[in-house]
Symmetry: D3
Subunit: 211 residues, 6 copies
């Protein structure tokens, strides 16, 4: 029906909760997560630029803002399912791109289709902007899980999320923005008082110093 459908779809992203199936003190929707990731990517982009690296800002914003729009079509497929086998992962990617293309062809007017194809394809590529998106996505997960741990959530799943996210970020530690995060932002997470603080700090430490 046209771009009306694209706008209506934003509504859907406001009603999909992140990490369904776990008790959380504070819910985050896919819409709010997308906003957060774009803001965090902007912050990381600043750091890169100040460090002398060139940022393609249009691509950075575009990638981060739209990176989860397609959850509207495929839903939230859990990580253990998605990554079960290489074959399954490829098949799911095929289904995702076919559902997405279907939406683009039926709802998006011809003259805009290329733009939406680009926006709804995998943004986490090898460009600097793609790497920043990978980091920003995980950095938001660090803050989501940190928020739960800090409020006293007894579920182990949030410590796992924190750990996995930090490990992924560390893989990008050739980036100036990752170096900055580890050195100047991360330590602030352990400044307030909360019951699991020391444990959390040790977890972070162990990841960062090993290797």
């Amino acid at each position: 029906m046209g771009l009306h459908e694209f706008i209506q779809g934003l509504n859907n992203l406001e009603t999909i909760d992140r990490a369904p199936g776990y008790f959380k003190y504070q819910q985050h929707t896919v819409a709010a997560h997308s906003f957060r990731v774009a803001e965090i990517a902007q912050m990381l982009g600043d750091i890169e630029e100040v460090a002398g690296n060139k940022i393609d800002w249009q691509m950075l914003y575009e990638k981060s803002l739209n990176h989860d729009y397609t959850e509207r079509f495929i839903g939230d497929i859990k990580t253990p399912v998605k990554y079960a086998t290489h074959e399954l992962r490829e098949m799911l990617a095929d289904v995702e791109s076919s559902l997405t293309n279907n939406f683009i062809e039926n709802e998006v007017p011809k003259e805009f289709q290329d733009r939406y194809k680009r926006r709804f394809s995998e943004g986490k590529d090898d460009t600097l902007e793609g790497k920043i998106l990978s980091v920003a996505d995980k950095l938001d997960l660090i803050y989501e899980s940190y928020g739960e741990i800090q409020k006293g959530n007894p579920s182990e799943v949030f410590l796992d999320m924190f750990q996995e996210s930090l490990k992924t970020i560390k893989k990008f530690n050739e980036l100036a923005s990752v170096k900055y995060f580890i050195k100047k932002i991360l330590p602030d997470l352990f400044k307030g008082e909360f019951s699991n603080r020391d444990k959390l700090q040790k977890v972070a430490w162990d990841i960062l110093i090993e290797g």
Copy 2:
């Protein structure tokens, strides 16, 4: 860790919403849905028995109560994804059974493992109890979508759900309980006053009389 983990998992089913991504006036969790399906299956079982058919009640309750427990492991995979290709469907089924087996082997003590394997495998088989489960699952979806339509939800998706569910139920219309539902329960849905009543009734009618 043992059966403690099985009980804790019930908590998860209370925090997974059905049909994420659509605005709903009234949310239903997987836990509540499971309760509803077991109650509806019991009602359908009554009808079959009164009609002279033998019900294996243990199997009927067991199948209906546990039919969505494994959503805890695989999450909510959207229908268009699940059914995209025959191959993908089989692969997802494999992943589901492997995650489920993994849970059973790690958490369920040996002496109970066979029972949980049976309960967590596909319950919608060709037995009368399996067929009743298929009908009860869709009948609950009819009531979920009916509740939204009746409250004035403008999204077309609930009319589609209603339609698809009724079509599936109709496929089982050799069952005494389906005949009873269509003749004696369904008409009551159109008795109250609400704005889309006539449209909904026509939709139901068209499905039931065609063929």
Copy 3:
């Protein structure tokens, strides 16, 4: 109007919260509680059977699944009210059965009335299945209150609930399933880390060893 009313009533059970009037991090509805109790009863039934005792599975599922349906008619009457005097308790039981009978006679078709009378009467009788229901109902309350204590709920009421529930369960400790619970499941509640863990464990200990 027929069985339509019975199904609509399931909706009501999804909107009645357990223990209204106390702040809780996680709400539980009567529908979710009913699902949980049926799952827990199934687990206890397994244990009994493996221990060599015969279970009437139809009765066990039926009792546990339906044990709170009548809350729809009478609402949540607080324990201190219900148990104030023997006379009042009997009178309230009379009103409950009269409201329930009223529903059955007006809404349930004749041929099914006996079944609903059985299901909506007191299920906690002296049969093995009745005893398991008593235990399962309290075991769920243990997990509900445990969930709050573990998340840091400062209200004393949840410690009281935990205590009362464990005391009631202990009264049934001739059952194989209760022995199993105390020996093999309960200790897992004290394995994670949370601020009141030691206090809670002591409370449990004091109940179990006294006498």
Copy 4:
């Protein structure tokens, strides 16, 4: 422990929902209801005073503000239960006053006990202030049910509430404030546009003109 317990109890009234078991677009807690009834009673008191009747404002505010505080002790006992027999009603009233007295004796310091006894006893007596409380309590129920009907709630229960409340108010139609409400406030409820408006207006009309 003293007045600290009285203040903490206000928290409880913020977590008890009115009319549990019915789907509502907008929830009202007992705390919010108490605020509303006191505001409405104040409005009705104005009308009486302007009409030349003397109001004991201390009593009017005290009665309306505190009229549901004891729900904290006894919970929400449904009308059909409460009014089943005269005997039961008296017994429940006894339990309520015994639980309330218990609270007063254990928590409220001696020098304030008489005040709380007065505030927590039945306020709907034959004084003008008692009558205004009766009217204000029902008038709030009229607005609660009106809010649901106006938003399209398909449940018949809200039309029943509206009807019962208006009937009760009508019984007090010797009061200047009731006359004013019927003549100058009620008609405004039917001014906006909503689907059941005409039906609702007819319901009101039928009650007001009969007899």
Copy 5:
């Protein structure tokens, strides 16, 4: 349109959350806050009266019950904005009174306008009742922030609220009711067990003993 609009406005107060922008375990609406403040003011009024001071109960109830009704017109203006400069504060007060007068002139019938003008003007004046309102408003904020601290809320903002509120209350410590609160009620807040108890008690101590 008349008093109908006044009653409808109560609905609005039920949908305005206190302190938007901070994560809270338990939300409080302006309606619930108004109820709480009126109950607390009543409690403080008792203490004053028992101490031999005369209370104008009509004024005390009227002031406390209505003190935040005008938030409906002006919304929640944050403290740092409101108090930025003396000039801005006066201008905002002018806008508030102009919006309020506008409502009174358009919606409230002539014969009641004076009453609403009095109720919607600043209640925190130099009368004993005005002072009690100032104390009750802060005392409720103490309980709101205490509730969060006690449940483990890691945000510093609630400790600040607690501190600021206690400081303000202390300024009124010539009042018998404030003396009573500090001596007989406040110590009960530190009786239960929760992680920040000692810190909170020290904060209170430091405020009360300095000077």
Copy 6:
């Protein structure tokens, strides 16, 4: 404390509801609104570019994404308050920029301060990107109010919002993107069936054809 505070502030934007004080079927937070406005601005930017106009994409994304971040400092000041007098509006703008500068100076490291100053200042300037932001902000309000009207919200306030927003958008109708919206997107809002559809369409019509 550095950029940690900037990220934590995103949390706040997830807990501020838009338009507090009005009953809504679906809540929107400031975080979700920011996401939506950035997505809509991107869509409008596409239309401009396809129409041959040059877009500074960095500025367009930056403006739209960050346009409400400062609500965190100043809260939600209602339109009638904000626009009461020219003088007040200027004073509030001064306070906003002083609170914002305060945050930037205390929390944002020196090397990034200029960027945040630009992002947190008024984005709705006379550049094409500034105009698109003005349109996108109102277009989102059109969809928010449309969502309520379509679901049957009886409050007149949403019709007012719809009307005011469309009037503002019309002022920018020299823009290619506004022409496109009016011609190709707006008509789709009136395609589904809902009770106030004809009234809403007439409202839109009257605005668009007058003058």
